[in-house]
C-alpha cells in the first residue's frame, strides 16, 4: 500500500504534473508539523486572530426542553470568519508562506472556506483566487461579495453540476497549469495525501479543546460527540482526539437532502460505494459505471459526492457512526436553535443539531453529548427564507 492510507482508503491519485508539488508539500508538512517555531506561530494566530479556544457552551434551555442528555455546543461559529474553516486555512497559509508561495487558490461550497482563505491571504499578503460552483455563487451571493471585499478573485465554475465537486475539479485544473508558484489550500479532509492528514491535524484543535473543557466542566468525557459531514473536516477535527476513548461515541451526520432514498441526496456513507476520485480512494455517490452522481442538499457546504478517507475508515471499522438528516429536519433544527438558545447556526451545523435533538431525549439526564456548531448561520438566512417561501426584499 502507498502513502496516506486509512485502511484501504486514501492514497495519491493525481496527475503526474502535480506529483512533484504534492511531494514537496508532503515534505514541507512533515518538517513543519514538528517545528516548534511553526507550531508557536500557529498557536498565536489561533489565539490572537481566530479567537481560540472557542467556547464550549452548555445549552441548558435546549437540554431542559428536550428532557434527556445534557447538550453542549462547541462554538466554532464564534471563530473569526464564523466557522471552523479558519483553523485549517491559518495552518495551510502559514505553511504556504514558509514554502515561499505567494499565491493561493481554493475551492469553496458554501463560501466559508473561500472566505477563510481570502481572509488569511489578505492577512499574509498573498494573491488569492477562489473557485466556486456557479449555482453556489447564487445560493451564497453574500459570501462572494465578502471574498471580493477581502481582495480575492472569485471564479464562478460553470462546468458539471456547478457545485462543490466542480469547484474542486476546476481548482485542480488550474493548479495543474500554475503548479510552480501556486499553493492549493484544500478545504476539507479529502484529496490526495497529505491533505486529509494535514487538514485533520489543523482541525484537531476542536476535539482537543472539547476534551479539556469537558474535563474542566464535568470532570469526565462526553458520551457522544456529533458533527455534520460533507468532506468531513469539522467532524474529523472533533473526533480525532476521542478516537482512542472507546466510551465516546463518534457520530457524523450526512446531508440526506430530500431523503436518503431519493435521487436528491448527498448521504455518501448511506448511499455511496467504494471509488477513486479527487485524489483519494473512499466512498462516493456514483453509478454502476463509476460516473460521479449529482448530489443535492440545501446546504452548499455538504453538497459533495464523497467523504474524506479517514471517515470511510472509521465507518469500516465501526469506530464512528454516520446518520442522515434531511433538508426539512435541518431547517427545523436551524429554527429551533435560533429560538431556543438565541444562536443562529449554519445550515450545515443544523444537520448535526437535528440528530442531537433526536438522540438527547432517548438518553438519561446523566449522559452528555457535544454538538459541533461548526459555523454561524448569517450566510443562510436568505436561503432559509426562500426555502420557507418568504420573499425578502434585500
Amino acid at each position: 500500500m502507498t502513502k496516506g492510507r486509512y485502511g484501504i482508503h486514501g492514497g495519491q491519485y493525481i496527475p503526474e504534473t502535480l506529483m512533484n508539488a504534492v511531494l514537496e508539500l508532503e515534505k514541507a508538512y512533515e518538517f513543519y508539523k514538528n517545528d516548534p517555531e511553526f507550531l508557536n506561530e500557529l498557536q498565536a494566530l489561533y489565539r490572537e486572530y481566530a479567537n481560540r479556544p472557542s467556547l464550549l457552551y452548555y445549552a441548558e434551555k435546549m437540554t431542559n426542553d428536550l428532557g434527556g442528555a445534557k447538550i453542549y455546543l462547541k462554538r466554532e461559529d464564534l471563530n473569526h470568519t464564523g466557522a471552523h474553516k479558519i483553523n485549517n486555512v491559518l495552518g495551510q497559509c502559514l505553511l504556504a508562506k514558509k514554502m515561499g508561495k505567494k499565491r493561493v487558490i481554493a475551492e469553496t461550497g458554501a463560501g466559508q472556506h473561500g472566505v477563510a482563505t481570502a481572509t488569511v491571504a489578505a492577512l499574509m499578503g498573498m494573491d488569492c483566487v477562489v473557485y466556486m460552483g456557479k449555482e453556489d455563487t447564487e445560493r451564497q451571493a453574500l459570501n462572494v461579495f465578502r471574498m471580493e471585499l477581502l481582495g480575492a478573485k472569485v471564479v464562478a465554475v460553470e462546468s458539471g453540476t456547478q457545485t462543490l465537486k466542480d469547484a474542486v475539479n476546476e481548482a485542480m485544473r488550474v493548479w495543474t497549469a500554475q503548479v510552480e508558484d501556486t499553493f492549493y489550500v484544500l478545504g476539507s479532509v479529502m484529496g490526495p495525501h497529505p491533505y486529509p492528514e494535514m487538514v485533520r491535524d489543523f482541525q484537531k484543535v476542536i476535539g482537543k479543546e472539547v476534551k479539556e473543557q469537558m474535563l474542566a466542566k464535568e470532570g469526565r468525557l462526553p458520551d457522544a460527540v456529533i458533527a455534520c459531514v460533507g468532506g468531513g473536516s469539522n467532524a474529523m477535527g472533533l473526533f480525532y482526539d476521542f478516537i482512542p476513548d472507546e466510551e465516546v461515541e463518534l457520530i457524523g451526520v450526512e446531508a440526506a437532502g430530500r431523503g436518503v432514498n431519493t435521487a436528491e441526496t448527498a448521504a455518501t456513507i448511506a448511499r455511496g460505494s467504494e471509488g477513486i476520485f479527487h485524489g483519494m480512494k473512499s466512498y462516493f455517490m456514483q453509478d454502476e459505471y463509476g460516473q460521479i452522481a449529482p448530489v443535492y442538499s440545501i446546504s452548499a457546504g455538504l453538497d459533495y459526492p464523497g467523504i474524506g478517507p479517514e471517515h470511510a475508515y472509521l465507518h469500516d471499522i465501526g469506530r464512528a457512526k454516520y446518520v442522515p438528516c434531511t433538508d426539512d429536519e435541518s431547517v427545523e433544527a436551524f429554527e429551533y436553535l435560533s429560538r431556543m438558545e438565541g444562536i443562529i447556526p449554519a445550515v450545515e451545523s443544523a444537520h448535526a443539531l437535528s440528530y442531537a435533538m433526536k438522540l438527547a431525549p432517548t438518553l438519561s439526564k446523566d449522559k452528555i453529548i457535544v454538538v459541533n456548531l461548526s459555523g454561524r448561520g448569517d450566510k443562510d438566512v436568505a436561503a432559509i427564507a426562500r426555502y420557507k417561501g418568504v420573499n425578502l426584499h434585500e
Binding site: 506529483m19 456514483q286 459505471y289
Partner: protein, 259 residues
C-alpha cells in the same frame, strides 16, 4: 509481437489521434476509428467518457458530457470495439480516469480489453506511485499501462521511464488538454533523459493542433498525439465529422511522417 511496438516499427514517426467514445454517438465513433486508421494513424486513443475529467480542458470536457448525455457506457464501448475489429486492426488504446475502471472491476475491465483488442490504457489520475492499482490485471491480460511524463516531472522522469511499456506519453505543457499556440517546454531535454533508460517509444501530446507543431514534436520524439483539435472538429460537425476528420488526420500524418 506486442501490437503497439509493432505499430511504432511500422510508423517510426507515429501520428496518434484521440477521440472521445460516444461523441456524438458510438456509430460515429466506429466510423471515425476506421477513417483515422485508413488515413494513416499509427495508434488510436479512445476516451471512455467520465463525469469529472480533471485533466481535460473545455473541448474534451464538453465531449465527455455529450457522450454521457447520450447514454454512452463502458459496456457499450466494448461492444462497439468488437464491431470495429471486423473492419480494422489498428491498435487501440483507452484513455480514461481510474474511477470508471475501478468501479467496473479492474480484472473484468482488462479481461474485456484483451477480448476485444485494446492494447493499452492511459489513466491520468494514476501516477507511478499508485500504478499497482491496475498493473497486475493489465499485465495478466497483455495490456500496456502507458505512463505520462510532465514538464514538472524532473527527477521522476527516469524512474517512470524505466518501467514504461507501450509508449511514453510526454505532456508538452503544464495544465489541462487543449490547443495551444506555443509550446515552450524543453521537450528535447525530457526525451533525451527518457532515451537514456528505455527503448520504449516516446510520443508527445497536449496542445498540438497544427501540422507544423506536430512535425516539430515528431522531430524530437517518435510521435505526436492530438486530441482537442480533432474533438473540436467532431463537436462542430457531429455525425458528419468523419470526412473532415479523415482529411485532418491525413494532413497530420503527412506532416509527422515527413520529418
Amino acid at each position: 509481437m506486442n501490437k503497439i511496438k509493432e505499430a511504432f516499427q511500422k510508423h517510426p514517426k507515429a501520428f496518434i489521434p484521440f477521440i472521445t467514445s460516444g461523441d456524438p454517438d458510438l456509430e460515429t465513433t466506429k466510423k471515425l476509428i476506421v477513417a483515422m486508421a485508413e488515413a494513416g494513424a499509427a495508434v488510436v486513443e479512445l476516451g471512455i467518457p467520465f463525469s469529472d475529467p480533471v485533466a481535460e480542458g473545455e473541448v474534451i470536457q464538453a465531449a465527455n458530457m455529450r457522450a454521457l448525455s447520450k447514454g454512452c457506457t463502458t459496456d457499450k464501448i466494448f461492444d462497439m470495439i468488437k464491431e470495429v475489429r471486423t473492419l480494422t486492426d489498428v491498435p487501440l488504446v483507452f484513455l480514461t480516469y481510474v474511477n470508471p475502471i475501478f468501479t467496473y472491476g479492474v480484472e473484468k475491465f482488462y479481461t474485456k480489453c484483451e477480448e476485444v483488442g485494446v492494447y493499452g490504457t492511459i489513466v491520468p489520475d494514476v501516477p507511478f506511485e499508485e500504478k499497482a492499482e491496475l498493473l497486475e490485471a493489465a499485465t495478466k491480460h497483455g495490456v500496456d499501462i502507458i505512463s505520462l511524463i510532465a514538464p514538472t516531472s524532473d527527477a521522476r522522469i527516469k524512474m517512470i521511464a524505466k518501467e514504461a511499456t507501450g509508449y511514453v506519453y510526454v505532456v508538452s505543457s503544464l495544465g489541462v488538454t487543449g490547443v495551444r499556440s506555443n509550446i515552450t517546454t524543453d521537450i528535447g531535454a525530457i526525451v533525451e533523459q527518457i532515451r537514456e533508460v528505455t527503448d520504449t517509444p516516446v510520443a508527445i501530446g497536449f496542445g498540438i493542433s497544427t501540422p507544423e507543431q506536430a512535425a516539430a514534436m515528431a522531430k524530437v520524439s517518435d510521435g505526436a498525439i492530438v486530441g482537442s483539435a480533432i474533438v473540436k472538429i467532431v463537436g462542430e460537425h457531429g455525425k458528419d465529422s468523419v470526412e473532415p476528420v479523415r482529411e485532418y488526420v491525413k494532413q497530420m500524418v503527412a506532416a509527422v511522417e515527413g520529418v
